[in-house]
Subunit: 477 residues, 2 copies
């Protein structure tokens, strides 16, 4: 395909035919022009596709080289000759030019020009050779599929995601662009920083890619094809991840979330990894340090552990198994979410049968049961339900008292400190003072959600069995 | 993880815990031992995991080097010292050692030993560094996800897929293996071909990977992690492809198949590519030359074309759009599958109303209609249904006569050669002689599946309208 055909097919697919199409006649496009062959050819082709008032030429002089001012003059002169508006800006010189900072500054500049001129999209001249270099760069840095996808033909503009970034030359190689410039008598500027191998990209271009070419002369096109294949594969896997996410997400707070563990465990390995990554990125949208090793460590814990230990993810986030949930929190010991708490420090009365309201929609209910099958009661797996023997017609619900002890079931009547049990059970410190304890008179009956007192246990032949249930009533807010 | 821990976790996951588990006490394993550090350590660890009668040591001397005989002696001596049975075989010397041929010979040898000794699995010592090299090699050759997956911890044995190939060291790096050998006073042989950079793998190991390490010291682990991620992603995408395949496959013959085009077009890009690949591999299970470019060309044709042209895939296969199907055939002009054919050269009588049987379950039915809406009849989109005006109470169905002409509808009464129309309509040569033509007396009424004769067309006010339908009756065979 020629350069012009490539542009037409790109424009048909991604601009006119985009999900939110740009109207040919009302949209304005900012074109990033360095003055090199790629961007000069880009501007030349766009000038024949669009009308002059749809184009704004933008050039940022990083001030790194003395010759840069000549590049800026060349771009301004070309735009003027072609009857196009242009914005040329020069940054103050920097001590040590940094590739990444320069890239960010460039995108911020392009966004500013787009805003000023009412443009909704920015067009840049990245070509297939740049794409091959990008894939290789991501590969060297260590990357999953998303990195190997390279650059997208269309994406949100970095630093200003409300604008669209278009790359119509992404499948056009450098040789085709050079041929176009020759055929149209364009005389682009040579970027002298191109040869500076202190920049990673230039080192790839001038050192690594030529070596790789001795292994396989087709290496550049293999890398761009890989990006093409991987982009589609990754898009489908993202779509599957997104489709799973709502049913996986159990609860979410400002700095934590809980994932349904059984549903997560049933996913294929690829989606187990991807949803863990999604969980972290939901809380911290920018997490450059979320490594493969961290995801793997979290995945193994989430698959195998029975609870307790937390492992670090990235960005200060931790993952922990919490019963049937995976908790992602910003503190390793954080118990996020909804827990039963007393509304005040004063004791409450729980009639039997009857119920009592705690804070935030939680409540405790009591009812009397005729117990037929004692096994079911003794093997009750639900920590939020307790079966006890009490004769009184009402119980009290209050917080732990200083120094209070009780006799946890299964310890042969030995007593334990209520506070120590709370600590061992990892009820986090701020929750302990108002954690509900059910008593009959002065005697503990149930540490809610955790332990029944030995003295209230249901034995063979018990008649006055009371079922206590602690639950949250969902309130439509 | 130490080498021994890695082996235990591998064995628990892939051997004892495999879908078809190997029993610890009855299975026998062939261990490929070159005498180098990797395979010597492998044998040493396995000797402590399994009983001696579960192990068979296998060594193939390619006869490339004079010192190779010393390697063979070393392996035999070690096996004997450790009380293990061994098979050492020497190949006749070759002029030019070839990596790929040697690899195949090695797997065939291991399979032979496994067969002779009643083993169901072969264990080899590929390590994490080998894995990184494999990923890099596939990347250089040009590869999609499947290549980037590298080697699998467990897979069918190449050249003998009924046997299982196990690679317990795939996540263990070379340094850990060397340390193990030192700690256990093992003195492995040095493979002198290791340094021979005429072999691609050695060139990667001694030239390319050291250079890549100057870009990123972690490159080896990045490549093995990439393989790990990609293996899971690719497995899920294969699973999705396999799940789609039965509903996509319309018909299949010995050297052709047809895919439902609309269902295929509705798939995401990733699966459109993967199912085309699957279609080709269904007909030709080994297709090393199935390139990205061929798949892309076929995909674009399948997405956009309205029929006719065929594009080559690989292995002599072609893809063509055929109405609502995609045909993959071994001839560009092949019309595979079921087409209506006369059972013999003698004419058949079609009563109106009534039906007539053709060959292979095909038939033509005729019935009389009261036509209310003429537009529906004139715009009939189904080539296998024709609306005609005939008064006779029976029609004849026979093949084309030599030199016969008719007046195709829409040519203003001009006549055309029946043979030429058949050629233009791409009815393939072997089908033409017995392709059914419906006539009233000597006059053509319908070239089945293609054209109605002008003289039989339905016009305003027509009364004796006949509907002709040609269809295949599915026969339960």
């Amino acid at each position: 395909m020629s350069l012009v055909e490539s542009m037409h097919s790109f424009w048909a697919e991604f601009v006119s035919g985009a999900a939110r199409p740009f109207s040919h006649h009302s949209s304005r496009f900012v074109v990033g022009v360095s003055g090199g062959a790629d961007s000069l050819a880009l501007l030349h082709v766009l000038r024949h596709l669009l009308s002059p008032d749809q184009l704004v030429v933008a050039h940022l002089n990083h001030g790194w080289r003395d010759t840069a001012v000549l590049d800026a003059q060349f771009v301004a002169q070309t735009a003027a000759n072609w009857g196009l508006p242009y914005v040329v800006e020069t940054l103050p010189p920097v001590e040590t030019p940094r590739e990444e900072a320069a890239r960010q500054a460039r995108y911020r500049f392009l966004a500013r020009v787009a805003d000023e001129w009412g443009a909704t999209a920015v067009v840049v001249a990245h070509n297939a050779d740049d794409q091959a270099e990008t894939v290789l760069m991501h590969l060297l840095r260590g990357s999953g599929l998303t990195g190997l996808s390279g650059m997208s033909p269309t994406s949100p503009l970095p630093e200003a995601p409300y604008l669209t970034l278009l790359r119509p030359f992404l499948k056009v190689d450098r040789a085709t662009i050079d041929a176009y410039c020759q055929a149209h008598a364009l005389s682009p500027r040579q970027d002298s920083t191109n040869a500076d191998t202190t920049f990673l990209r230039n080192r790839l271009r001038h050192e690594l890619l030529p070596l790789l070419t001795t292994y396989n002369p087709q290496i550049r096109s293999h890398l761009t094809q890989l990006a093409d294949v991987v982009t589609a594969d990754d898009a489908l896997l993202r779509q599957l991840t997104d489709a799973q996410w709502p049913s996986l997400l159990h609860q979410q707070g400002p700095d934590w979330l809980a994932v349904r563990r059984a549903a997560w465990q049933a996913l294929p390995l690829s989606l187990r990894r991807r949803t863990l990554r999604q969980a972290a990125l939901t809380l911290r949208p920018f997490l450059p340090d979320l490594t493969f090793a961290a995801i793997e460590q979290a995945r193994r814990l989430a698959e195998e552990a029975s609870g307790g230990v937390a492992v670090p993810l990235a960005g200060g986030l931790w993952l922990r198994v919490d019963y049937d949930r995976l908790l992602i929190t910003s503190e390793p010991e954080q118990i996020p979410g909804d827990w039963p708490q007393l509304p005040a420090d004063t004791p409450l009365t729980l009639p039997v049968p009857g119920s009592v309201a705690l804070a935030d929609g939680w409540r405790i209910e009591a009812d009397r049961l005729a117990v037929g099958d004692l096994t079911a009661v003794q093997q009750n797996p639900d920590p939020w339900t307790a079966y006890v023997v009490v004769a009184a017609s009402s119980l009290t619900v209050a917080g732990r008292r200083s120094g209070e002890r009780f006799q946890p079931l299964g310890m042969n009547g030995r007593s334990a400190s209520l506070k120590e049990v709370m600590v061992n059970r990892k009820i986090s410190a701020p929750l302990r003072a108002r954690w509900p304890v059910v008593r009959t008179g002065e005697q503990v009956v149930w540490l809610v959600g955790h332990l029944v007192d030995e003295r209230a246990k249901v034995t063979e032949g018990a008649t006055a069995v009371v079922r206590l249930r602690c639950s949250k009533v969902d309130v439509v807010s």
